[in-house]
């Protein structure tokens, strides 16, 4: 009765995730033995070797090639320079997509402009709302298909695409659908108007979720869209075109152009785009800001990199916080702009936290992203893997101590073991640069003031985590953080009703909630 065995193992796996203190993986005893300061119970020998439980890919129908989606139709690119997209977990080619160039962008902008002026703009807001509701519902109905495709194209564990990416993407559409005909109530004393044609460029770490974060509020604001998914993860956006058609969204309201950085630059530089929204690296964000000098401050939003501090005080609920640390840095292989990549632990509990963390890390399963038991999937691309490797090597070279649990990485595809650095100083590259990988740098502090100083000692300011059982300290620390999102006794929580965005070099503008809506309307 294999059907019965599998859930049983899944249950024990999730129990193990929650109560890691008593159970751990065979073969990891070396790591714990090395930390004599830890006063932990000897771990039970307990096998976590699971039978493979891969999600079937039969639900997904990937075409051999895709064109550009303009006016609700696919058309070939003006200049044929197709881009191959692969499964990063296997290296296998999945499909090839068109690369948009100047003429294509122009055609898409014209389509969007026409739709804005003749259809979407003049349409009663209540009708706009209903179209967005349709999108939300259709996404929910096809959630499984999207989840599998997202994992195949991007390498993220199926449990994350299934439980986080796709449901949240649908929630973003559902939430914003309701805003479309309630804008008059959103901004006190002001009337909200659409901005016009919006150009959007999104990253590869949450392909469909970022598409939803961008498209949903823009549609609710009454705008039309030209959006470019990331070069390495175009497939979920291309599948989304079926949702657009099935929802009967009028032609030209959402235009999807695949391509690379050059295609993105054509969007950035197109004179008839009224507003730009970009999520990606700080480096590219700089170039976009430099190219957007004539835009007023609401007409450019940037959601860029981060180097978040996850701060653990001695009175924190340690087991709970170890789970939060793991979630903070190993969620989506650490390829998260708000990842808690710097762990700041109060000195008094540093040893116990690091020991428990290492034990927990040894239970993380790295491997096939389509396997339901996989915790850490594939790194998105060869170049990202190279970047992570380079920074980890730099960490070792600069004298920090590297810990990686024993794990068998697949022979094919791009994988990186969950990593932890101790003995990190603030000037190390691994403490200042965004790694965008499953690599945690641990620093310590003595006082709350020192924690604040160290946490804010970064050019970024996207997020922060605070772990303490003292309520007043949570609020005081939250107040001190120069970061747009502060998680107290939790980490990496997202919701369409909750604004998200950064301070400093993490960008400007917010996404989500009423404050996010402000990014997609003009007030008068």
């Amino acid at each position: 009765m294999p059907e019965n065995k599998k859930p049983a193992k899944n249950t024990s796996a999730s129990a193990n995730n929650k109560k890691s203190a008593t159970k751990r993986k065979k073969g990891a005893s070396q790591a714990v033995a090395a930390n004599k300061s830890a006063e932990l119970q000897p771990a039970q020998e307990f096998s976590l070797e699971y039978a493979p439980a891969p999600e079937s890919t039969s639900i997904v129908d990937i075409k051999s090639e895709y064109g550009l989606f303009i006016n609700n139709e696919f058309r070939p690119a003006e200049i044929e320079e197709p881009i191959t997209t692969i499964n990063p977990a296997t290296g296998d080619k999945l499909s090839q997509v068109a690369k948009a160039s100047k003429g294509d962008v122009d055609a898409a902008v014209k389509a969007a402009r026409h739709a804005y002026e003749n259809v979407w703009g003049p349409m009663p807001a209540a009708n706009r709302a209903k179209y967005i509701y349709r999108i939300a519902r259709l996404l929910q109905e096809r959630a499984r298909e999207f989840a599998v495709l997202e994992t195949m194209d991007g390498g993220k564990p199926i449990k994350e695409s299934r439980d986080v990416d796709i449901p949240l993407a649908a929630a973003h559409f559902f939430h914003h659908a309701g805003w479309a005909d309630k804008l008059d109530y959103a901004f006190a004393g002001k009337t909200a108007h659409p901005i016009g044609v919006i150009g959007q460029i999104i990253p590869w770490n949450f392909p469909l979720l970022m598409l939803a974060w961008k498209i949903a509020p823009a549609l609710a604001g009454g705008n039309t869209i030209v959006i470019k998914p990331a070069e390495t993860t175009p497939l979920s956006a291309l599948l989304f075109t079926e949702i657009i058609r099935d929802a009967d969204l009028p032609e030209g309201v959402v235009n999807i152009l695949t391509g690379d950085g050059e295609s993105g630059a054509e969007i950035v530089n197109h004179p008839d785009i009224d507003k730009l929204a970009f999520t990606g690296s700080t480096q590219v964000g700089r170039e976009i800001q430099r190219a957007s000098l004539n835009r007023n401050n609401h007409h450019l939003t940037l959601e860029l990199g981060g180097k978040a501090a996850n701060i653990v005080f001695e009175d924190a609920a340690i087991d709970q916080c170890v789970e939060g640390i793991v979630n903070g840095i190993y969620f989506n292989q650490g390829q998260v702009c708000c990842a808690g990549s710097r762990l700041l632990v109060q000195e008094t509990v540093a040893d116990i936290v690091i020991d428990k963390l290492k034990r927990r890390m040894s239970t993380l399963r790295v491997g096939n992203p389509l396997d339901k038991n996989t915790d850490i999937g594939a790194i998105n691309s060869a170049s990202q893997l190279a970047k992570i490797s380079e920074l980890v090597e730099a960490g070792v070279a600069e004298g920090a101590e590297l810990y990686q649990p024993q794990c068998n990485l697949p022979n094919e595809g791009y994988f990186f073991a969950p990593s932890l650095f101790t003995g990190v100083s603030q000037s190390h590259r691994i403490a200042t640069e965004e790694i965008f990988g499953p690599v945690l740098s641990v620093l310590t502090f003595r006082t709350a003031e020192e924690a604040v100083e160290k946490a804010n000692n970064t050019a970024y300011g996207l997020s922060a985590g605070i772990w303490t059982e003292k309520g007043s300290r949570i609020l005081w620390m939250a107040d001190q953080m120069k970061a747009g999102v502060v998680w107290g006794n939790t980490f990496n929580r997202f919701d369409p009703a909750s604004p998200f965005g950064g301070y400093k070099e993490s960008g400007f503008g917010r996404e989500g909630g009423r404050q996010g809506l402000l990014s997609y309307v003009n007030l008068s």
Partner: protein, 375 residues
Amino acid sequence: MFNKIFHKIYKWILSVAKSSPRDRGSAQNSRSEEDGSGDENENVSESNNNGDEENKNIAFKNATAITRNDSASRTTVLKTYKLFIKGEFPRSESGRSFPVMSVETGELIAHAAKASRKDLRAAVEAAAGAHPNWAKKTAFNRGQILYRVAEILETRAESFATELGRFNYNSGGDTNENGRTTIKSRQGQNTAKQEIFNAIDCWVWYAGWADKYSAITGSANPVSGPYFNFTTPEPMGVVGIIIGESQTPLLTLINRLAPALVSGNSVVLLAPESVPLPAITLSEALAVSDIPPGVVNILTGDTAELATHFLSHKNINAVDISSCPKIGAGEMGEEVLGAAADSIKRVINSSADEQSPYAITDFCEMKTVWHPVGK
């Protein structure tokens, strides 16, 4: 003994002052103001070639023999316009100044200090130092302190109007090819008076927002899960404000300065190049208010020269260019603005004369805090 030392210091100060070409320039332009209203009596008097300092020197020596002039023959005391940094009035460290001329008559009104990059740095340092305590004050307290400024401005309304009138800043004007506003002469004092009254009313309006704007623009967010989640606006930190040329220089300045201060930002403000003096007169009111030193710093100088440093200075979190008329030209050229991108600096470019709570949040970051809810 003490007197002797004092006397020596006084003499030394006089000698230094006399050696400054800027001061010699203004001394030659001592002006008589018959009825105090000034703008109708713009005559430059030839009254005294010795200059003010020398007169004072003599007066000091003959302290017992003071002669009282009647107002007709009295030589006015001219103001030296300096910078306003950390609650003090220093000259530019560069020793530079520039003449401010009446647009209508072409006559010298006064010299303004020509701030340097170093002055900007000092101002930013002062602002960064003052910001935490200003932001930490309760919103209610900040509101009262700002309201107090309006009280002070109200008592000085007459002299502001007089000064604005005398400088010939005025209503009605054209924009030339560089996007600069050409300034024409004001129609009497009424317009000037109206401007200062509008400016005071604007200030009072913003002061009242201090303990309200976050209730309007922040939120408690109904997230899908057992979490308490709220978003509040908070000040960005050090804000640079570059004031462009305007037909109502003081009103424009206050309409940009007040919303930045309400949330707890500290400010380094660059006065418009051709109309720098009202900003410095304003700083005299700020200096006697309860606004802590360093919260507002005001520079005068060459906008083209300083704008680039405003936009590239990494300790300035945001630069407001809303009142600068044309982006991409002149002092706001691409190279200047492009410097902001190096540190993803917020460049605020919204409506310059809008009065709105959203002008306050233009100078704010939105911070969202999550916490689990549980027993």
